[in-house]
């Protein structure tokens, strides 16, 4: 594990003097960067709820929230206050400890993945040499709180929802892992920053390992949508069948944590896809690297996910499994083989 402490040349060094000194120590660096990145992600996801509701309104020929604040911009704050003021109920017959434990665990595991997502060359919490595995490990762990919430609520709808969520989660983890292997094979490193740097030199992985790159990106994106339970893969919380998925029995801010982390998770997924396949903080052809590229790409993918949400219909459970096992798993295997062949015959590990 190597922790980057080379906060070298950019705008951070131009800040007033005490800050850079803190940054030379790994822990201090992590704290400062963590605060910046966390704030950034939380703010974006809070207002993305507003944006999504406005956007959905436009797509459905209605207005959307426009009362609280100018153009409804204060709506997220109003929602938060409303949730905070409500009572947190625990259903009788529930497993109290686990019931209380689930929402904070969701938040913790989601935010833990943030630690290795680089927003730019120096804007990251810690540069792990197994960064990609770290992200995948923690997003895999996210199944736990979901399952716990469903089981602890002592409600048949939540139990069904959690069963669906776990089945979907462990199935789609396979193509997700395999497609994430493509950049690893091509670059020869598990560090996300290394993968981005490679793309700065050799072009985006989306284009450059011809075939496996584009296909891998597609599979990664689809599978991570499924991991984040976004439409069209939101079978675990299908409103028409399961009321509202595993969150049925939750109320107040305990409930609020679930949708919030879902948005953060989706945002992180978009950021990861941008870093792995879309060149991270590098522009096309390595133009003008900087944090703006990373943020732009992340937001673009985030927007595509909203777009899909309001355009597509939900899969049936069996269709979901069929898509995964019949199409994505074999295709992702082919991707890995293709990437390996590409490395041996065209590219070559640096």
């Amino acid at each position: 594990m190597t922790v980057a402490s080379n906060a070298s040349n950019s705008f951070i060094m131009s800040l007033p003097s005490p800050v850079p000194e803190i940054l030379t120590h790994p822990v201090g660096h992590g704290l400062v960067m963590g605060t910046i990145i966390l704030t950034f992600f939380m703010l974006i996801s809070a207002w993305s709820i507003w944006f999504e509701r406005r956007f959905a309104g436009r797509m459905q020929s209605r207005v959307g929230p426009n009362v609280v604040g100018p153009a409804g911009l204060l709506q997220p704050i109003a929602d938060a206050i409303k949730l905070l003021r409500k009572e947190n109920l625990v259903p009788s017959g529930a497993d109290k400890v686990l019931f209380w434990l689930s929402p904070p665990m969701t938040l913790f595991f989601t935010l833990a993945t943030l630690a290795v997502i680089p927003l730019s060359e120096d804007l990251l919490v810690a540069e792990l040499d197994i960064g990609l595995l770290w992200v995948l490990a923690f997003s895999g762990l996210l199944l736990f709180p979901t399952w716990i919430a469903g089981w602890a609520s002592n409600n048949k709808y939540t139990l069904f929802a959690s069963m669906r969520a776990v089945a979907q989660g462990i199935s789609y983890e396979i193509p997700l892992l395999f497609s994430a292997i493509v950049p690893v094979v091509v670059v020869g490193s598990l560090s996300i920053s290394d993968i981005v740097r490679y793309q700065g030199e050799h072009g985006w992985l989306l284009f450059w390992p011809l075939g496996p790159g584009a296909l891998g990106f597609l599979i990664f994106f689809v599978a991570s949508l499924a991991e984040a339970n976004r439409i069209p893969f939101d079978v675990p919380e299908a409103e028409s069948e399961l009321v509202a998925g595993v969150t049925v029995e939750y109320s107040g801010m305990m409930y609020g944590l679930f949708p919030m982390t879902e948005y953060v998770h989706t945002l992180i997924t978009s950021a990861l896809a941008s870093a792995l396949f879309l060149g991270g903080w590098y522009g096309p052809f390595g133009w003008a690297p900087g944090v703006h590229w990373m943020v732009g790409k992340t937001l673009f993918l985030f927007f595509v996910i909203f777009w899909a949400r309001w355009s597509l219909v939900r899969f049936r459970s069996d269709q979901l499994m069929r898509l995964c096992w019949v199409w994505l798993v074999p295709l992702s295997l082919l991707c890995v083989c293709g990437a390996a062949l590409w490395v041996v015959y065209v590219g070559g590990v640096a």
Binding site: V326, W327, P330, L331, L333, L334
Partner: protein
């Protein structure tokens, strides 16, 4: 370097097609996609093979392609390698395999046009697998890879024979083919083991003269020959080949006439340095091959099923090749393999075309097709002439070469058998032509119509090769380092005359004027005996009847001894064990925890011994 790439391309493009089709089910269930992929891959193989062969034949002498990857790394030394190896021996065979495979695949598009899309997809996936395995066999750099591909080819054959899996007879035929050849393959495996023990490798040309004693060579070659007898359907183990005709006719053309059954012959060609050290095996090969040639030709005369005629004819021709290789002349056998691939594939495809038209395999149902299907008829006649060894066709040159070699080697009895078989060959092929094309028009033939162009085109290509293939004989000779020019010899003249008389006899016997002369009723009294002997598949009868009776009698005696002597002893010990077990079974509580305690108790005792005695 380019040649390395070409060789890899030839081998791997069918593999890619096969893997893609096997893994991705949605592609496989679409017959057209599957066909396009397979045919595309085989075309790539064919182009690559032709380029590779052109650089090594016709006087050109490009260096051998030899790419080997370490496989089974065992410490310092590599146990085996896999790779591609293309020398002047492998190159023509590659062309034959890829060419015939492509023709058959294209033909299949028309032949299986009415099958469900899903089944066609499966069929072409098998074809891609076969093309890969067969090319892998031909290009194998050592005998181990050859063995692996040999088995893969067997698998593809099994799958394709059983293509109509809803028919019980097809399933049984597939199983029979599988078990008979698997039994024979034991020989190849044992032979490889002996070879490895004796020479420390799987190469065919390392042991020449130096490391291998004649006795060992005899053992190895004998074991290899056992596999050849199974794969190339030589006498006692030919029984699977006629049954294999249950598969679709294009499959028969590709696997069971042109390429797969010839793999046995190719094995001999490849392992020739070893066989040359084993004179006894070579002699056995001459006699067994010649016997098979004559025997199968006799049987073929009495078959009413057009595919069975061709199947026995294939046995017979393979007998020729084996006999030729037994004389110590690699060229003649190998050359006959090549020409035979062309004209036998052609014959099967025309037969398939006829079957397609009348929906029956029987010669009786095909009478009078000449009027309906002139192009197919002409192609059938061309194929028959080539098989009969009509002068200047491909079969004429290769068969003539074999007979000459038999004469030079001084094997007069096999020579006689071979010449007689040549006459019979001409006779039964004439019978097929006369009955199917010019016989009395049958009901089914009323509705027959010519096959589509997609089926005719491959046949025309093969027909051209069947006619002109003989011109290559000089190149084959040069491959073995001999400068041979064709010249007329007494034995060739005799064989040709015998062939002509066979044709003449057939024309007279089955001329359209003699309407009653149909099927097997034409035979006279002494021939009737022969009919019984052969038409009812005598070896099958032998196995099913006499052999089984003898075995049963012997088994009954042994069974008595077993029941009243051996079993009594066993019962005694069983009784004793039962009594003892009644006591011991109390130990089995059925509670898993108790078993865990037993294990842990033992572990604790062992650990304690380790700790306190150290």
């Amino acid at each position: 370097m380019t040649h390395d790439l070409l060789a890899l391309l030839a081998l791997l493009s069918p593999l890619v097609a096969a893997v893609v089709l096997f893994i991705i089910a949605p592609l496989r269930v679409r017959g057209a996609v599957s066909a396009a992929l397979t045919i595309g891959a085989t075309s790539v193989s064919l182009v690559a093979s032709v380029l590779l062969a052109a650089a090594r034949m016709f006087g050109a002498t490009a260096p051998n392609v030899d790419l080997q990857l370490a496989w089974l790394p065992g410490g310092a030394q590599t146990l085996a390698t896999v790779g591609v190896y293309v020398d002047p021996v492998a190159a023509p065979m590659m062309v034959v395999v890829a060419l015939v495979a492509l023709c058959v695949q294209v033909y299949s598009v028309g032949y299986l046009g009415h099958e469900p899309s899903r089944d066609r997809g499966r069929y072409f996936a098998y074809h891609a697998l076969f093309a890969f395995s067969m090319l892998g066999l031909v290009m194998a750099p050592n005998l181990l890879q050859l063995f692996v591909c040999w088995e893969l080819v067997g698998l593809a054959s099994y799958l394709l024979i059983g293509y109509y899996w809803t028919k019980p007879s097809a399933g049984q035929a597939a199983l029979k083919a599988f078990w008979v050849t698997k039994f024979a393959d034991m020989g190849l495996m044992l032979g490889l083991m002996v070879l490895y023990v004796k020479t420390g490798g799987f190469d065919w040309n390392v042991p020449v003269g130096q490391a291998l004693m004649t006795a060992d060579a005899e053992t190895i070659a004998g074991l290899f020959f056992l596999a050849v007898v199974g794969k190339s359907a030589q006498f006692p183990m030919h029984i699977w080949l006629p049954d294999a005709m249950e598969g679709p006719t294009p499959v028969s053309a590709l696997l069971h006439a042109a390429t797969m059954v010839a793999a046995g012959v190719y094995l001999i060609v490849r392992a020739y340095p070893i066989f040359m050290l084993a004179p006894t095996v070579l002699t056995v090969m001459v006699y067994l091959g010649a016997f098979t040639a004559l025997f199968a030709a006799v049987v073929a005369v009495f078959q009413d099923d057009i595919k069975k005629v061709l199947a026995f004819s294939t046995c017979s021709q393979l007998g020729y090749m084996v006999a030729a290789l037994g004389t110590g002349s690699m060229v003649s056998g190998y050359f006959h393999l090549t020409t035979h691939a062309f004209f036998k594939a052609l014959l099967f495809l025309t037969a398939g075309s006829l079957i397609h038209a009348v929906h029956s395999n029987s010669l009786h149902d095909m009478g009078g097709l000449w009027a309906k299907m002139k192009p197919t008829g002409i192609l059938l006649i061309i194929g028959s002439l080539a098989l009969a060894g009509f002068p200047m066709t491909a079969g004429f040159f290769s068969k003539d070469l074999i007979l000459e070699e038999l004469l030079h080697a001084g094997h007069y009895l096999p020579l006689g058998a071979a010449i007689l078989a040549a006459g019979l060959t001409a006779f039964y092929m004439t019978r097929v032509v006369m009955l199917s094309l010019f016989g009395a028009p049958s009901e089914a033939a009323e509705h027959a119509h010519e096959s589509p162009a997609v089926m005719l085109a491959p046949m025309v290509l093969l027909a051209v090769l069947a006619l002109a293939g003989g011109l290559l004989h000089g190149d084959f000779a040069r491959m073995a380092g001999v400068e041979a020019a064709f010249h007329v010899t007494p034995v060739g003249v005799v064989a040709t005359l015998v062939g002509f008389s066979g044709i003449g006899l057939g024309l007279w016997r089955f001329s359209p004027g003699r309407r009653t002369a149909i099927g097997t009723q034409w035979v006279s009294a002494p021939m009737r005996l022969l009919t019984w002997l052969t038409a009812s598949k005598p070896v099958d009868v032998f196995f099913a009847g006499f052999y089984r009776q003898a075995m049963l009698r012997a088994a009954a005696g042994i069974a008595w001894f077993d029941r009243y002597i051996i079993d009594a002893l066993i019962n005694l010990s069983g009784w004793a064990v039962l009594r003892g077990a009644e006591r011991f079974r109390e130990l089995q509580t059925g509670q898993p925890t108790d078993y865990v305690y037993a294990v842990v108790g033992g572990l604790i005792v062992l650990t304690a011994m380790g700790v306190f005695t150290a």
